[in-house]
């Protein structure tokens, strides 16, 4: 049974409201930080905790905070990235919906550490009802002097504003988010300069994910070193995983990052096994952007070690035989799922969500979708598979923002691990319209040459 640091109070009746949250120990991190610690000491604790960004890239949060430029007389901003639009990822929604005050508390402490007096939550437009929940929580916190001027008599001022996005995945990319927040078209910026130097309104800015900022609360409550004891290696603390697909118990789980992928899928405490007694075929362990893995490579690494649900183990083997922790969107595919169709679905998503700024992504994503469409509907050619490979290769790494990579990786991984399924589609245009390729050998321990 893993320890819970974020969702431990989620089941408490009325925890959405300030009084209940406070009665259950809420806002103690704000009191501790603002009354007993300097801003730098808070940053120091976050550094010690080893907390890594939960938005996808896994960049150490404390390090990001210490990069923040602090020129005299220039405001600094903290922006909470609640755009959560990656297919398969819905952990931030759960956290904000059920524990809004945990996020607000984390934001106050983090704003204090960074010197942000105006802090923004940029939330995806479709989470409209959560905006109301958050705004109510902010009102309650302000009414109790946890927000506004002279918080708890410490002299620290802070306001939190919630800004709704308008339905664009790309506005989750931190610089596109800042553009959108400034009221402009959500095009990612060309870096450098990085937000830590020139962010919101050209001022130094830190952008962090919802879960990252919520995790600051237990870090301050228990201390960074204590937090770092949970988990393993550079995967410290607990992680929220949103599990979906063909499993018995889809939902959001808080795990400590020492459990195996196998346990996560099959144990009753988590996903509860594959639904309808089917077999596991493949899985995308970290949200739609990360490489898909066949069952055999998912449960064990190429070296034959048990794969663990953490940053290091999931990426073991690089892209050749591994994947990524990503944003924690865990998508499970059973034996009835078609990898070609699934890849088409993802390609359609990225084509639709590209901002269109740079040519490889704007043109390449649409091209890949069209070819995949042909392959899926029995009109593909054998050369299309190599062509797809070449297109994704020419997008990857050559674009302004990582959406280009995110569009390329799923296609690359699908071809890398499931090429025979693509070939079967080409060779059996009629049959592939009537049945799926099935499990094939993907669950068998393959001999892997790296």
């Amino acid at each position: 049974m893993g320890r819970k640091l974020l969702l431990d109070k989620a089941h408490i009746e009325g925890i959405r409201h300030f009084d209940v949250y406070r009665k259950n120990g809420g806002y103690s991190a704000v009191e501790k930080a603002l009354k007993e610690m300097t801003p730098d000491a808070v940053t120091e604790e976050v550094k010690k905790s080893g907390l890594r960004g939960r938005g996808g890239a896994g960049f150490p949060a404390g390090m990001k905070w210490s990069f923040l430029a602090k020129p005299e007389g220039v405001p600094r901003y903290l922006v909470c990235n609640a755009d959560e639009s990656e297919p398969g990822t819905f952990k931030d929604r759960y956290l904000m919906e059920f524990l809004p005050h945990l996020l607000i508390e984390g934001l106050i402490v983090s704003s204090y550490a960074l010197g942000s007096h105006r802090t923004y939550i940029y939330i995806r437009g479709e989470y409209a009802w959560i905006v109301d929940i958050l705004e109510q929580a902010i009102e309650e916190a302000r009414a109790n002097n946890f927000l506004g001027n002279n918080i708890l008599g410490t002299g620290f001022n802070c306001e939190i504003f919630v800004q709704r996005g308008a339905g664009a995945y790309i506005c989750g990319e931190e610089t596109a988010l800042l553009e959108s927040l400034e009221g402009k078209r959500g095009n990612p910026r060309i870096k450098p300069p990085f937000p830590a130097v020139k962010g919101l309104y050209d001022c130094p800015t830190v952008v962090n994910n919802v879960e990252t900022l919520a995790a600051v609360v237990p870090i301050i409550n228990f201390g960074g070193e204590e937090y770092a004891k949970i988990g393993v290696g550079k995967s410290t603390g607990t992680k929220l995983i949103s599990a979906c697909g063909n499993i018995n118990k889809p939902g959001v789980y808080e795990i400590d990052m020492t459990i195996s992928v196998e346990e996560f899928i099959y144990s009753d405490e988590y996903c509860g096994g594959i639904a309808n007694g089917k077999k596991l075929k493949a899985c995308i362990p970290g949200g739609s952007s990360v490489p898909i893995l066949p069952a055999n490579l998912l449960l064990k690494t190429a070296k034959g070690e048990t794969r663990i649900m953490n940053y290091e183990s999931l990426s073991d083997g690089g892209f050749a035989t591994g994947s990524m922790m990503g944003s924690g969107g865990f998508i499970v595919l059973d034996e009835d799922q078609c990898v070609v169709r699934h890849t088409l679905t993802l390609a359609r998503f990225y084509r639709h969500e590209s901002c269109g700024q740079c040519s490889p992504c704007r043109e390449g994503t649409g091209w890949m979708e069209k070819i995949l469409h042909n392959l899926e509907y029995g009109k593909g050619k054998m050369s299309d598979i190599d062509l797809l490979w070449d297109i994704q290769r020419k997008i990857e790494g050559n674009t302004i923002c990582p959406l280009g990579d995110a569009a390329a990786w799923p296609v690359a991984a699908a071809i890398r691990h499931f090429r025979d399924e693509f070939e079967w589609h080409v060779n059996n245009p009629v049959e592939s319209q009537q049945r799926n390729y099935g499990l094939a050998h993907y669950a068998d321990a393959l001999e892997i040459t790296v």
């Binding site: 060309i190 639709h352 269109g356 740079c358 704007r362 043109e363 994503t365 091209w367 020419k394 050559n398």
Partner: protein
Amino acid sequence: MAEEIKLIKVTIDNITVDVPMGTSILQAARMIGGDVAPPAMCFYSKLKGSGGKCRTCLVEVSKGSNADPRPMPKLVASCRTNVMEGMEVKNITSERVTDARNGVVEFLLLNHPLDCPVCDQAGECHLQDLSYEHGKEGTRYEFKRRTFEKHDLGPYIQLHMTRCILCYRCVFVADQVTNKRVHGVLSRGDHSEIATHIEKALDNDFIGNVIDVCPVGALTDKTFRFKNRVWFTKPVDAHRDCPTCKGKVTLWQRGDEVLRVTGRKDQWGEVEDWICNTCRFEKKHINDWVIEGPTKISRHSVISQGHYLGMKKPTETFRAVHGGRDPKLLMDIHSISEVNRPGIDLSAIPGPATSDVFNAEKKK
């Protein structure tokens, strides 16, 4: 007191230059010139914030700087990456760059209509040049090319959205030169388009400059539309006393007739001064202008093949002019395009060339 500008050393394709701090790799490469300068479809030195989008100028940084000699893992956009002391860059000497650039050119042409035979930009189109120099023969794209609903931008400026490469230069011009932007990029992804939100004319005094910055034939001069092919016209530098702009322009003439007025462009295709709409669209009489003399045109340009009266045609082959390199044909537009009939001598047509002319030829 002006601070002394610090010069730093950067090596591009094995050639070392001293450049001031804060210079981009692209600008440094342009100082060396020739093939070392990467192609740039979106960067425009006179437009703040431009660049970074088209990805044609990608280069490999094989050594970051003296202080941090590690190579950069990804190719970088040379127009938006500044040089560092001791940096080493590979442009045409890098296979990775050539490969990526081929890809970018293919992407840029993927949905391009290839209507060069009826496009006013042909002959001075940067996409044409780019495809000749860096493209491959033929395309691997087998799908219908994208189309857009037509938008009318008023009496002066013609928009052909299908040709647009979304370099955003015209948006920056409207922002920075006119301060009254009524057009921009609508929608996203492969359906992004240049448009005004509500059908609206672009009518600021300086808006005509969008035509000069547009690297392709997406924004062209309506007052010159189908009047002539640029290589049949003769460019001369001229000026007039203009109350709005400096009045320094290039006139594109046929005989004594002024067919078109543009800004004066440097060797990288950038205008020297922004000119006003009056100079561009309304002063089409030779008496409006004081002629300075023929415009210097690079011999690489097809415009240099133009029929300069009393001038000798160059006798070198195309190959000799290109320093021994054979230009690679991206695709033979003559075989693809329905409308193109090389048999037609456009200069022999009395009025503007229209589809009727081509259709009549086809029926013959």
